[in-house]
Symmetry: C2
Subunit: 328 residues, 2 copies
Amino acid sequence: MAAMNPNLISYLPNLRVVDCTLRDGGLVNDFYFTDEFVRALYQANLKAGVDYMEFGYKCSKNIFSPDRFGKWKFCDEEDIRAIVGDNPTDLKISVMADVGRCDYEHDIIDRKDSVIDMVRVATYVNAIPTAIDMVEDAKQKGYEATVNIMAVSKVDSEDLKNSLELLAQSSADVIYLVDSFGSFYPEQIRRLTDQYMEVAAKYGKKVGIHAHNNQQLAFANTLEAMNKGAGATYLDATVNGLGRGAGNCHLEMLLGFLRNPKYKMIPILRFVEQYILKLREEGVVWGYDVPYLLTGQLNAHPSSAIRFIRDGRSDYYHFFHELIDDTL
Amino acid sequence: MAAMNPNLISYLPNLRVVDCTLRDGGLVNDFYFTDEFVRALYQANLKAGVDYMEFGYKCSKNIFSPDRFGKWKFCDEEDIRAIVGDNPTDLKISVMADVGRCDYEHDIIDRKDSVIDMVRVATYVNAIPTAIDMVEDAKQKGYEATVNIMAVSKVDSEDLKNSLELLAQSSADVIYLVDSFGSFYPEQIRRLTDQYMEVAAKYGKKVGIHAHNNQQLAFANTLEAMNKGAGATYLDATVNGLGRGAGNCHLEMLLGFLRNPKYKMIPILRFVEQYILKLREEGVVWGYDVPYLLTGQLNAHPSSAIRFIRDGRSDYYHFFHELIDDTL
């Protein structure tokens, strides 16, 4: 083969693959996954050598009604244990906690009493102090903790710089670059990753990448953020890209790329075959489509594209003009 | 917005966008496009500021029966003229001529009598001398000429090096990097583009990129090959990615990225809305799907994945093992 690269032959042992299928996918079906689905995904991730499996959100039941959402929006301890027992495996378990949507003091118990290993705090840039409070709470309780700044493509450069400094001085283990709107091109991801890495290195933190597929760049941007070992080491992906709107980096693409023999793509392939195709047949809709390209290009929230598709519309031309009216 | 890049604000005036919708798309429907479709595409490309529109192949009717293929497999002069007249526009017209499938001495007439502007010679690495003969023939007749080495991912590094040297010494204007199997990752595309550019620069040639979307990397690899102006300047794309198997770089993605005010995405968006959706409804199948990921990962020809999908199969696990048996 032409131009073999030793980097594509060797592998980076410090990478961590985080499967977010239930969490980002739950945004598509209101977290109504069957236990069979969740159990099969857990088994597939185990066999695939995935490092973390995110079960869902730790949302407050005072804010969101358990009547209107499946259980993975809340991730009760006993619900996770019903799937994994005491999880006597190398696959770590994570949950996401959104600033302002989580009674973290109360709902996140001590790690010694929990089967959860990692708490990922998701925040907008204007709520960094609360995010740090949540990170410190999780760390004091014994968890690994990440902090994920959402919608960075809407954040002013100076604000981002200050946020990263604050977060890097917190107890968080990992700071996540999140392309919420799927609007970044690889060259932007590279520059942002470099910026995150610079601050992270100063304080001994790691960097993660969470990409969306609006412009079919989620996989490419994940590779770019890795920067052949000089960049992000926590890599988010979902099976078949299952996730809100255009979805995420496909786990089967990522595992097919990684050369570490611990990672196996085939168990994920089987899971797609046995469970994901059924989900699509049942009418769950996600993945690249033209309307997501347009919100991505315009750096807009995907919600209007989700509605456009749900309404069965295909008048892209009008949609584009609606978007321009909304965003300008 | 965070981390603005002047490169994403300014633009590169030397880029050339080549629409291959009819040519690569013709491989999906045996070139049976209606005149209405072709005329509308021509109008859309005109309005979009696309630089070249490839109408199809110049295939020999002694080798391929006109009864079994639509007219764009042959691109007779009068068929193109029926669409474009004398083409009194800035949109140039190209055709592809495959080594061994084209009676180029006879079927490619003098440019002064033709509405065609550019002949693109497609060759495998083992037929470079014939490809050069075809290039010289086209150049002598007055055409712009490119040479496209297919299936480079299967070519030995040393053979590629020698081929590039030979081609760069020919009269070809552009040498194309072609990722036929959609198997290259961006870091490989960058290295290969650098290699092509080095040889091309020595002899005053330009470099082009033609990517396939097996791993959803066609757009990303096209961006990577451009290397912010230091790489490929001839960029192939097709509307909605229409092309064999997983298809190509989506023209609407590329135009949405390019900042040159001459390029407009909206006419292409309208064409998708008015013509491409209908094509899909009529049962023409292309675009990313799991089987193409697998042939891409294994650097295999997409034909087995095309058959798998045509047969309505979804047993990815078995397919993967069939592929491994075939490729190892």
